[in-house]
Symmetry: C2
Subunit: 760 residues, 2 copies
């Protein structure tokens, strides 16, 4: 654990005391989002200290020109990244002629942030003594509305503590923003227009190249002692991409003045006329009113929690951790729009370009599938179906043909947005997770219709890729897969990564089985699809031959599948025997040293055992876990959750609990020393899995839902709900025993430790 300033609390993330060194970290941790937009917890008022400004609009990206040292054929020319969006939260404050800047005050006391996850509201308050001696108390409340998802609301209160004061509020909207990770220091936004009328202002800007138009808007009301002043701005400052109002309020000692700022974005993805859209949004928000909007926000979050909450008794840090994870996932993606997906940093930072990774299929879909309507998971699957043509084009760039599809490692719009050859071209296992998610969706929801409708085409493209990508080794008389990077990115360009070979074989087998099923059960879909993809029996036989004769590296000596052909050549020194000063190795070692070490960034062979648990015995799992776990450094956020689940399966509850804490409090406690850059959103779904699938032991077997609950000794109990085939199954696990209640679909059968649970 590397930081511990966040106060333990069941429902809130709380920081107390002002520390300039924590500002960027807290900007990440207190981020808010509503699925359509999100923002780091930057201060509204000007701040001259170290800060990382970030506001993001879902689906708005920019193709930054690729930056590489040495160009290699097949690299994308452009690299889509999430855009830092215009700022609508800014409110400069002037008090008795001096600007409020927390970095420049004589003193700041009672500084407190609270992100109330139950309500979906972010609070900040502090007392400050300005350089000119004026003492003030400030209370701020901010949220992004779930109901009106183009709208955010700020309530900013200032109380004059030691004298009368002239307070100037200077709210603004500003499109003059840039990305910290811009490759060429280019501007991404082109200003189009700046308009204002009364207390409303609109800055419209268009992204270069992608030509998304966004209007960033604000509407301001000023209050004194809670009563509206009905004032207009005393002055308006305009540049080509920014507009700022000034409101002056004379406040007597002890009095409180408030600015209520309604702001947000309307974008051309949703509006023909974004300014008109913005005006309508403001009107709607004003009609509801700030107070009712706030109430609605709490109710909307209550509805989310109703289904997705996990309770933990007797361990407040564990409770806070899981709720933080569930909260952030829901802030990032709500499943309303199939054009959107889940970036590894959500709306909390720029790194990883805000794009879609295999994380969505491998980690996020199970969470959304179980805690939302099945349509949400279906939308996530459809996202890939809609990008199938681009995946085929992507494979063509790498020399594949005839409809073989390679999904990009990273994408915003279906095109590859990554450019390290060992990952872009070689981390091809991502294709496997995309196929697995289709199977997983059907297994959990029971909804087969997706496969004839859309899924089979994706499966065929993927199976074709694996067929063409395998090489027949005359030497082994089997098919091998050469030159790949597995989930463990600390090995590059290896031969026969077990996970990749295994999922490749599985993809082909699963695809062929679905072709047969659809031929029998959905003949018209079969005909439509086969006419489209032109898959011959000869091709099916050829791909089946690859699956049937796939090579898997295995060590007789150790009784385990080898992560890759060369694994045993390595010096097998365990992580426990590695000097702590060398950790994390990705910050301490050069790349070649990492590559030739045995250290595993994230579950790789064990990831395969996670996906295909039922293909192996518990003894096999144990053997592999005992072999690989000691070499795993978990320097990927996606790793500890899988190990937590497997430790739980093996009954190693202390280890499972340790991994659980690591995954659930990864960001709160900043294990990997990088929370300043943003949160690890996608791995948060892994945290959810480590409770539901790990401790709860949830599995689907024979179309039935099974639980084998276990409980860490630290806990009195825990509970969660899942939506299994439209039955809402609530599981309450206590040290004394497990209680299951089921509502809805009465066809489903649920078992606890093998015993059927009647529907109550």
């Amino acid at each position: 654990m590397n930081q511990d300033y966040i106060q333990p609390d069941n429902w809130s993330i709380i920081e107390e005391g002002f520390d300039v060194e924590r500002v960027k970290s807290s900007e990440s941790l207190f981020s808010i989002g509503n699925g359509a937009m999100g923002q780091r917890a930057n201060f509204e008022e000007y701040y001259s200290g170290k800060t990382f400004q970030g506001s993001y609009i879902a689906g708005i990206y920019y193709p930054d020109k690729t930056k590489v040292g040495w160009w290699k054929n097949g690299y994308p020319e452009y690299f889509a990244k999430v855009l830092n969006a215009p700022n609508w939260i800014g409110i400069d404050i002037e008090i008795n002629g001096e600007n409020l800047d927390l970095a420049k005050c004589q003193s700041v006391s009672n500084f407190r942030r609270e992100l109330n996850m139950k309500e979906g509201i972010y609070y900040r308050s502090f007392d400050a003594v300005l350089a000119n001696g004026t003492e003030i108390a400030v209370k701020v409340q901010r949220f992004l509305s779930l109901d009106l998802d183009e709208v955010g609301v700020i309530n900013y209160e200032i109380t004059a503590l030691n004298s009368d004061a002239k307070i100037v509020f200077k709210p603004y909207v500003d499109a003059g923003v840039h990305n910290e990770d811009a490759n060429w220091e280019e501007k991404f936004w082109e200003p189009i227009s700046v308009k204002h009328s009364g207390n409303e202002a609109f800055v419209t800007a268009r992204t270069f190249k992608t030509h998304f138009t966004a209007t960033t808007f604000m509407q301001n009301s000023v209050l004194l002692e809670g009563s509206s002043l009905s004032v207009a701005p005393v002055s308006v400052q305009e540049t080509k991409d920014k507009i700022q109002f000034s409101y002056e309020v004379a406040v007597a000692k002890g009095q409180t003045t408030t600015i209520q700022k309604i702001g947000g974005y309307t974008v051309s993805m949703n509006h023909d006329d974004t300014i008109l859209g913005a005006k309508k949004s403001i009107a709607k928000a004003l009609e509801i009113g700030v107070s009712q909007l706030t109430e609605n926000q709490k109710q909307a979050w209550a509805r989310i929690w109703e289904m997705s909450d996990i309770t933990i008794d007797g361990d407040v840090k564990a409770q806070q951790g899981i709720r933080f994870n569930i909260f952030q996932l829901n802030q990032t993606y709500l499943g309303k729009d199939s054009r959107l997906n889940i970036g590894p940093k959500g709306f909390t930072g720029e790194k990883y370009g805000g794009s879609t990774y295999w994380d969505t299929e491998a980690y996020c879909i199970p969470f959304y599938m179980a805690t939302k309507d099945q349509q949400v998971a279906r939308n996530l699957l459809a996202y890939r179906y809609n990008q199938l043509d681009k995946a085929i084009e992507n494979a063509e760039k790498l020399g594949f043909k005839n409809g073989a599809a390679l999904y990009p490692m990273v994408t915003m719009n279906g095109e590859e947005c990554h450019n390290e050859w060992e990952i872009t071209f070689e981390e091809i296992h991502r294709n496997g997770a995309i196929a697995f998610a289709i199977y997983n969706y059907y297994r959990f929801t029971g909804d087969y219709s997706y496969i004839p409708e859309k899924g089979l085409e994706v499966l065929i493209g993927i199976a074709r890729f694996w067929h063409q990508r395998a090489t027949f080794s005359t030497y082994r008389n089997q098919y091998v897969i050469l030159g790949v990077t597995g989930p463990n990115e600390y090995e590059n360009n290896v031969n026969n990564n077990w996970y990749t070979n295994y999922i490749a074989k599985w993809c082909i087998d699963y695809t062929v089985a679905q072709i047969q099923r659809i031929e029998g059960e959905y003949p018209s879909d079969y005909t439509r699809i086969m006419n489209k993809v032109k898959l011959s029996q000869a091709e099916i036989s050829a791909m089946k031959k690859v699956a049937d004769n796939m090579y898997f590296p295995y060590s007789e000596e150790h009784g385990v599948y080898l992560q890759q052909d060369g694994f045993l050549d390595k010096e097998l020194i365990t992580v426990a025997d590695l000097d702590k000063s060398q950790r994390p190795i990705n910050q301490k070692w050069s790349w070649d040293r990492i590559l030739r070490s045995p250290y595993i960034k994230q579950a790789d062979t064990l990831q395969g055992f996670y996906f295909f648990e039922d293909h192996f015995t518990k003894e096999e799992l144990e053997k592999h876990f005992d072999f690989y776990e000691p070499f795993t450094v978990h320097e990927s956020s996606l790793s500890p959750c899988v190990h937590s689940i497997q430790a739980a399966v093996l009954g190693r509850m202390e280890q499972a609990y340790t991994f659980y804490l690591r995954t659930s409090r990864l960001d709160l406690d900043d294990y990997n020393k990088e929370v300043e850059e943003g949160l690890h959103i996608t791995s948060m779904a892994g945290t959810w899995m480590s409770i539901v699938e790990g401790f709860g032991g949830m599995r689907v077997r024979n179309n039935q839902l099974h639980f084998e609950p276990k409980i860490p000794v630290q806990w009195k109990g825990y509970s969660f709900k899942v939506n299994f085939r439209n039955a809402i199954v609530k599981v309450e696990v206590r040290q004394e025993g497990t209680n299951v209640s089921i509502e809805g679909n009465s066809d489903v059968e649920v078992f606890v430790n093998g015993e059927s649970q009647l529907i109550k």
Copy 2:
């Protein structure tokens, strides 16, 4: 062969006819240099067509900020590259009010370039009809003086063909240049001063960061019908980094006017006051006079050719090829200055940053060793000795310790200047070539003194590196070397590259043997060195253990050492069976596809057989040649020469001859479709080797020089000279037999086909 416009000629490179599409190619092919500076064959007069401007000063570099997509620990922050130097050759021409621009003339006829390699002079001539109808004939002669190596001379003649003409010569010097390969479009030169006096001008500029100061100078004389006009410029145009004179001459129809421009650079590496240095250079040049300077140039080149020429009878293209190679090597490096080295593109382009690669040790040293005084090769060795501390620092960055040295892949000043992890961190075999060159120098020159003086410290640093870099595989019970890139850069991050393992073992063995010899024969050097490097007997034993137990991958089935552990897993389709449309694969295939293919960019295992030929039988060589040659695509310029030598050893003369043509005319015929970017200088030394060591069969055995001459059927004969231990050995091979003459050191013994040759 991809182009054939260069006219065959024994002593000259000749182009006839003007073709805008050939301009950039010819700018490379007609490049001139004198070891201290060099330049592409850009036109003196303004040219609006496609051109690649390039002038370079030896030793002047700039640390460009490294550009990578994804940073990895150990990458250098800066990346030294050769600088495009200020332009001193420019002479804008105005005729009857119109600018001469070959891209804009009504017609250009009789266009001819000739690079006379015997004289070291570049000629260009053409007739042109300008848009205004004026017809002129132009003759230009240019050279960079070998005697005064800061000075170049241009003689530019214009004859008015169809009318009287007012001709304005506008010679200039200009520091406002940039690099085409600049990473961030930064300026590299900061202007310091612009001065002029009479017909002389001086632009002084300083490189940013490295702070090299260079004065670029010119002195102009104008003649009419061969008589000096003693005129001063009619006007002078100055900016902060450029100065341009104008001279006006009224020419009657049929008359000829000439501008003689003396120009060049003086740099702060050699002068405290570069302007004063420039004035002295001009004064010296004027004192000698253009006519005598030209005569001196021819004599200086005659002295070079006297020793380094190779004659070939009966095959003008082969003759032209080898002379072009020898000429370019001598233009690039003359061995006068141990601060300098040989960049892969010499002074002919920017690519590869003009830096030093292992090419110097593996390819160039044999050429310089045999055709120059041994001090030249010693200077090249000392270059690495002088950079030993930085090689140790470089190894430390990658986690090595205790004096282990890893020489950079690419360097200007000892620091690593390359940033692809698979090469920078993994193409570590370069260390082996640097050790091999020390051995090779001693073997050929008989001068052991270099090793106790300097070489042993380098050897110990390198041996320590290999010792630490090897990994003990308990699985194999041998030492392995994991995660390397061999000379074949079409495989990355492989395990147990045979070449690397072999040269690593050899380096340790050779180092330990030299330690023992120096302990016995040079006790005071021994004490000095051991006190400095603190090498214990225990460390020596430990490193010897690695060498004695090194693993070499071997295939019983094929009877060959395997290029690397995974080679046999590949689909072994020969180059002959690869569709021609797929070649060159580095332009057609994505990187992953190249990596999993069996195709070899350049000799790898065979490179080892070349270095260590006497460790293997001819049968073993044949077996390996027959196994690897069919997979070799020779997409590195460094490859065909090694294959040519080995084909000759195996008596396959037709194949040897084909490879010889490919290496010797690589640039003239533009085999790799990239000559526009510059010439392949370092591989030219390989061409020399393919005659002397391949056809000539030159070997040093038991301190004696042996020849086993062979001759391609296409040739009547060939001859070359080598300086072996201060004996000048001239070998003339004809279809009828071989004649050897020896001058100088009478201690040396020379054998032809095993028969001793008496000194005549």
